[in-house]
């Protein structure tokens, strides 16, 4: 019975999921937005594919959804939080010191993160502002409220972070990691850990109150020998603000050598 149910689930998963013939994101968007048909292939496929039908229907839901009375306050709050997470780059730019300073890192600024690597950013921005924004998107390691250069706004949106460091796992391992560990941060009430592929796509994320967490089986299973995985941890205070974020750490299970070295522990 159990196997049958598992088989059912697998079939339903496959039947509900995309196939190689399914529409690409671009085609799904065209199917959603086209009023007069979106081409033979798209039309034909849409007629017989429950998955793509559902995808387009969800696009419509996204556009047409209305917040209920019990949701409106929360939506407004989130929108305000998103607005607040932007730091006026004008202020930053106007007050930027002429020399690089690595101590200042505003937390929660999309634009600061973005302009650090933005292909459209101007040379002037890259020169003067990147000094403030911490070149290369690095997060600061200063553990105290740093002394700011004269003229730099010390407003409520600019946070000095305390430092946090991913302690384990790092480098080459003989087996998939049993746990993730980092140093505790003053003022932090929770930690968010993210494990990523090398392309930075997140494969596992968790929030915890302690400075260590067991590695889940799903992560250990993909940590096959030779595969590099990344992880980082951020500290969050009681107001939900991120107060520190670690460097991205790398680890991998070493490929078994032919000289009789211990093999990586096989999981699943």
């Amino acid at each position: 019975m159990g196997e049958t149910k598992q088989d059912d689930r697998l079939i339903l998963r496959e039947a509900s999921g995309p196939t190689p013939d399914c529409l690409s994101d671009d085609e799904l968007m065209a199917a959603f937005e086209s009023e007069n048909g979106a081409g033979d292939r798209i039309t034909q496929h849409m007629a017989e594919c429950a998955h793509c039908q559902a995808e387009v229907a969800l696009m419509r839901d996204f556009h047409e959804a209305e917040a209920g009375a019990d949701e409106q306050g929360h939506v407004a709050w989130i929108a305000e939080q998103l607005k607040a997470s932007f730091v006026e780059s004008e202020t930053v730019e106007r007050n930027a010191p002429a020399h690089p300073r690595r101590e200042v890192k505003s937390r929660g600024s999309f634009l600061r993160d973005f302009f650090g690597t933005n292909p459209f950013a101007t040379t002037a921005w890259a020169g003067a502002s990147a000094a403030l924004l911490v070149a290369g998107g690095l997060w600061i390691q200063d553990a105290t409220r740093s002394t700011l250069a004269p003229g730099v706004i010390d407003g409520p949106q600019v946070f000095r972070t305390t430092s946090i460091e991913g302690l384990s796992p790092r480098g080459d391992l003989t087996a998939p990691p049993e746990s993730f560990e980092w140093n505790a941060v003053d003022g932090a009430t929770a930690y968010k850990i993210e494990a990523m592929e090398v392309d930075r796509s997140i494969v596992w994320a968790l929030q915890t109150e302690s400075a260590a967490v067991a590695a889940p089986a799903q992560l250990r299973a993909i940590a096959v020998p030779g595969k590099t995985l990344l992880w980082r941890v951020s500290a969050v205070n009681s107001a939900g603000q991120t107060v520190a974020i670690s460097e991205v750490e790398r680890f991998r299970v070493a490929v078994q050598s032919s000289g009789g070295e211990p093999a990586a522990k096989k999981v699943r």
Partner: protein
């Protein structure tokens, strides 16, 4: 004054015009303002989606922030073939699914609703049928033919994307008592009925072939 005029124009401009202006912005300040203007138009929509997906506003905020961060980083890849809001939805969808899959080890998300409510026998796809008929491709066609839109959405989100049933109920604003679970149950019933019809038809055709031979 000039900046104010520019912002007034931006507020009246469409998303595409704003994006064009972002790409040709003469300064980082101008670019920042334009991006703010563009994103603020879509905060409520993404906020609602993420709120429903996560079920609490703090998690919804974090998820929405990830969505806009990805949108920000991918803005140069936006080609304008679709509306910006549609493009943003694709980012939101992918981010939500990543979020769901990262939590997919939780038992609640992996349990079959038919197990949860104890109604096993009449909801399963039987072994016999599975062997003969229920290839994924066949079931996929049946789903397209027999399920209604809500059932298709629920099945896709739950089975293909590992989205928890509670999150699906919120996301689709399902108001019935058991939410998405009821749609999974009704979808399975419909699929079983459709499989039965196909099996009966196959049997009739087999008998006819035998009699003809």
């Amino acid at each position: 004054m000039r900046a104010d005029r520019m912002m007034l124009m931006c507020k009246q401009a469409g998303d595409q015009a704003l994006i064009d202006a972002i790409r040709t912005a003469g300064s980082a300040v101008e670019r920042t303002r334009l991006i703010n203007e563009l994103f603020e138009r879509h905060y409520p929509r993404v906020a609602l989606w993420c709120l429903r997906f996560t079920g609490d506003r703090e998690s919804g905020r974090d998820l929405a922030q990830d969505v806009f961060l990805r949108a920000l980083r991918g803005l140069d890849s936006y080609r304008g073939a679709s509306k910006f809001s549609t493009w943003l939805y694709v980012i939101a969808r992918n981010q939500c699914i990543r979020s769901a899959q990262s939590r997919a080890s939780k038992p609640e998300q992996l349990q079959d609703p038919s197990v949860l409510d104890g109604r096993k026998a009449n909801l399963e796809l039987e072994d016999e049928r599975l062997e003969r008929e229920a290839s994924a491709g066949f079931v996929r066609r049946l789903m397209a033919e027999t399920l209604d839109e809500t059932e298709r959405k629920v099945m896709t989100l739950h089975y293909a994307e590992d989205v928890p049933l509670a999150a699906i109920s919120r996301l689709l604003a399902l108001q019935n008592a058991s939410g998405a679970k009821a749609y999974v149950v009704s979808a399975k019933r419909k699929l079983n009925r459709a499989l039965s019809r196909h099996r009966a038809r196959d049997e009739r055709e087999r008998v006819i072939r035998q009699e003809g031979a």
